[in-house]
């Protein structure tokens, strides 16, 4: 029998242990997530200090400024278009490559490596190679077009194509990365489930649609979240390829934040834009977890 004093001490010890175990994670989360997020929120309602004027509280002025900012609207439109195209494209491509690589084909290891190479390359280096592909006149793409008797194009220099030229690079870059996750998921599918489906007379498409796809659901969810985050945090390719131009036609949210923070030194407005970015990412994860959680088959 424990006396009440001993019981209280034990409870206190357990609490202490719990806090001790939580402390590292708590410390890291506070330092690198919570504090920056709150600090950003604070800065977004404060004016940008300049040489003569110190910072002061401005309330929602930056958010009102955003609504009236045509570049902000264009950047959001671009980012939405980019997300709508790049996310399905890279997931579909990743799955296709994973299915191919999972099949028993000769030279499989080599092909896997080839598909994974873009992921290993630093994006800035890769984007510089693409910059050459896109060069009007003697770039690889134009030479190919000339070979087919088609006129060349100024891929990065025309508003109609600049954003899509960047999208292609980003999809090419991240599809290999997603492929690895799909490949791991595919290899975890028990062979007897597929064999059973075949014995029941299921066609290849039916096996894929009814057996494979549901079983790799958790992976798809994981990849989808990563792709959404990636779609709203693409920035490095823009530094190399277009600088957001021409006339903001390939400008995306994070690059616009960079421009405001480090080119215009408008830290208040940049903070307000960052709050929008955080809200989008938070919302996206919430929607995905809530809606797909039910339909995803965890094993």
């Amino acid at each position: 029998m424990l006396n009440p004093k001993q019981g209280a001490r034990r409870a206190w010890r357990q609490t202490l242990l719990a806090w001790a175990l939580l402390a590292p994670a708590l410390l890291l989360l506070t330092t690198f997530t919570l504090y920056p997020a709150l600090s950003t929120l604070w800065q977004s309602v404060m004016s940008t200090p300049s040489g003569q004027q110190p910072t002061q509280f401005v309330g929602t002025r930056h958010f009102a400024q955003m609504l009236a900012d045509p570049v902000f609207r264009q950047v959001m439109r671009n980012n939405l278009l980019y997300a709508l195209v790049s996310i399905p494209a890279s997931i579909a491509l990743a799955l296709l490559m994973a299915l191919l690589m999972n099949a028993r084909i000769p030279g499989r290891a080599l092909a896997r490596m080839a598909y994974f190479t873009p992921t290993v390359l630093p994006l800035v280096a890769a984007a510089n190679i693409w910059l050459f592909f896109y060069t009007p006149g003697y770039g690889l793409l134009d030479q190919f077009m000339h070979g087919l008797g088609l006129p060349g194009r100024n891929w990065l220099g025309e508003p109609a194509t600049a954003l899509w030229a960047v999208t292609v690079v980003a999809v090419w870059k991240q599809a290999g990365f997603f492929m690895i996750f799909y490949l791991a998921a595919l290899q975890n599918i028990p062979q007897h489930l597929i064999d059973a489906a075949r014995i029941e007379g299921a066609s290849a498409w039916q096996v894929f649609h009814r057996v494979t796809l549901p079983l790799i659901g958790p992976t798809t969810l994981f990849i989808l979240i990563n792709a959404v985050i990636g779609a709203f945090s693409l920035v490095d390719a823009l530094f190399v390829l277009t600088n957001g131009g021409p006339d903001n036609s390939s400008n995306l949210l994070l690059y616009y934040i960079y421009q405001n923070a480090f080119q215009y030194w408008d830290t208040g407005y940049a903070a307000a834009l960052t709050v929008v970015l955080i809200a989008i990412l938070g919302l996206a994860s919430w929607v995905q977890f809530a809606s797909m959680g039910r339909r995803t088959h965890y094993q």
Binding site: G137, N154, D247, Q259, Y264
Partner: protein, 433 residues
């Protein structure tokens, strides 16, 4: 401090000579200097060499050049480092002459007058065109260093091939367009070059464009106090009209945004017969063009003209009195006629003072390579480059407008009127102070 005390204490019994140098080493003034590389050529090697040479003559000062990317990156890194403070922040930097308002508004500069302690004669030794972008509130906030101005390069072999006089560059706008037409394959199948002309428009189209606007009679794109822009003046619109027509109507220049970085390459590869680009590329072109080429002033229209460009030396107010004196010593040394001549020859930048052009070395160089003097001769027609308060943002608005017209999203008039309205909105807050 602690470490030195420890050394002293441990060395005291020996009364060592080793203590003295270490104590003296602590008195050496270190000046970290951020700098960009904006043209081809071994800029980093040359600057490191200068720092070493200066240190040999001035053992008490060590200038530490730190490469910080493009001009854009350099200003970003400089302001970030100055804001966070600390020992690693730069004491000096080479930054765009036009960023003077940005740095001034951030309150980080020391004026050249304060540095020189009243010696005004020294500043008068520079070309006035190069000093024009340095003046704010009656003082000079930077010293001309790697200055440039755009010029026209032409491929003499291509001119000859289409029956043009290879030694004569276009004199005016009409001539440039007509010559470019003969040098464009589309209009003249025997032309060895695809296009007659390339005026690069990527990244910072405003700069070369200002050449056109000056020639069309709009000398400045902003008022000297940096508070009013003239983006929608009829002359500015007319200049953009001419530029857009070169590619869209006359079809003597590629459509869309023309890349700044690949244009010299296009010139070497016979993709264009004439190009506008900075004199800073002169050494690069001299080394890489496999044909005879000429360098000319930009063609005139209502008048002759070109903007100045390039970077100046800035000293920051995180410096002590001793550091300021040391920085001044370095600046006066590196901009002295002999050094300015050397810098000009090694890079293609325009030597910044008339005295530099009188040095035997530069005279000899010009005699053997007369193309080098074109930029200098053009200086008397030069106008200060676009520079305003909140310069990066205002310039971006203008660039966006130019790009919208160049890519045929908007007419020149509509694009520039919009840019002017946006710039007005940004600059309004600077007018009351």
């Amino acid at each position: 401090m602690q470490r030195r005390d420890f050394l002293k204490a441990s060395a005291l019994p020996l009364f060592s000579a080793s203590v003295l140098p270490s104590a003296r080493a602590a008195q050496v003034i270190e000046l970290p200097m951020y700098y960009p590389v904006a043209v081809g050529g071994p800029i980093a090697k040359i600057l490191d060499g200068y720092a070493e040479q200066f240190h040999k003559a001035n053992p008490d000062v060590v200038v530490k050049p730190i490469y910080t990317g493009s001009y854009q990156d350099t200003i970003t890194k400089t302001l970030t480092a100055l804001r966070s403070g600390g020992g690693s922040a730069p004491k000096m930097a080479v930054a765009l002459a036009v960023d003077v308002f940005t740095l001034f508004d951030q309150g980080v500069l020391v004026s050249a007058e304060d540095l020189a302690g009243g010696d005004k004669g020294w500043l008068k030794s520079f070309y006035p065109a190069f000093l024009a972008n340095s003046q704010v509130a009656g003082k000079t906030w930077s010293v001309p260093f790697q200055r440039s101005t755009p010029v026209l390069y032409w491929n003499k072999a291509a001119f000859k091939a289409v029956g043009l006089n290879p030694d004569k560059a276009p004199e005016n706008w009409d001539e440039m367009r007509d010559m470019a037409r003969r040098l464009t394959k589309l209009h003249n199948p025997v032309s060895p070059t695809d296009w007659g002309l390339q005026i690069p428009t990527s990244g910072f189209p405003y700069w070369l464009f200002q050449g056109l606007s000056i020639e069309n009679g709009q000398a400045r794109l902003a008022s000297p106090d940096g508070k009013t822009t003239y983006f929608d003046a009829p002359e500015t619109i007319g200049a953009l009209d001419y530029l857009v027509k070169l590619s869209r109507t006359d079809k003597v220049m590629p459509e869309g945004i023309i890349n700044w970085g690949t244009t010299p390459q296009d010139f070497f590869q016979h993709r264009c017969a004439m190009m506008w680009t900075t004199t800073g590329n002169l050494t690069n072109v001299k080394a890489n063009a496999k044909f005879d080429f000429g360098v000319a002033m930009l063609p005139q229209h209502k008048r002759r003209g070109a903007p100045t460009g390039g970077g100046n030396l800035y000293v920051f107010n995180n410096t002590t009195e001793a550091e300021r004196a040391a920085a001044l010593r370095f600046i006066r040394w590196v901009t002295s006629p002999e050094m300015a001549a050397d810098w000009g020859i090694q890079t293609g930048y325009v030597a910044t003072s008339p005295a530099a052009w009188e040095t035997p070395r530069l005279k000899e160089y010009v005699a053997g390579f007369p193309q080098a003097a074109v930029a200098r001769d053009q200086l008397k027609y030069a106008e200060p480059e676009l520079s305003t308060h909140d310069n990066q943002r205002v310039t971006k608005v203008f660039n966006d407008g130019l790009e919208a017209a160049i890519t045929a999203q908007k007419t020149p008039a509509a694009a520039l009127k919009e840019a002017q309205a946006t710039a007005e909105g940004i600059l309004r807050r600077y007018r009351n102070s």
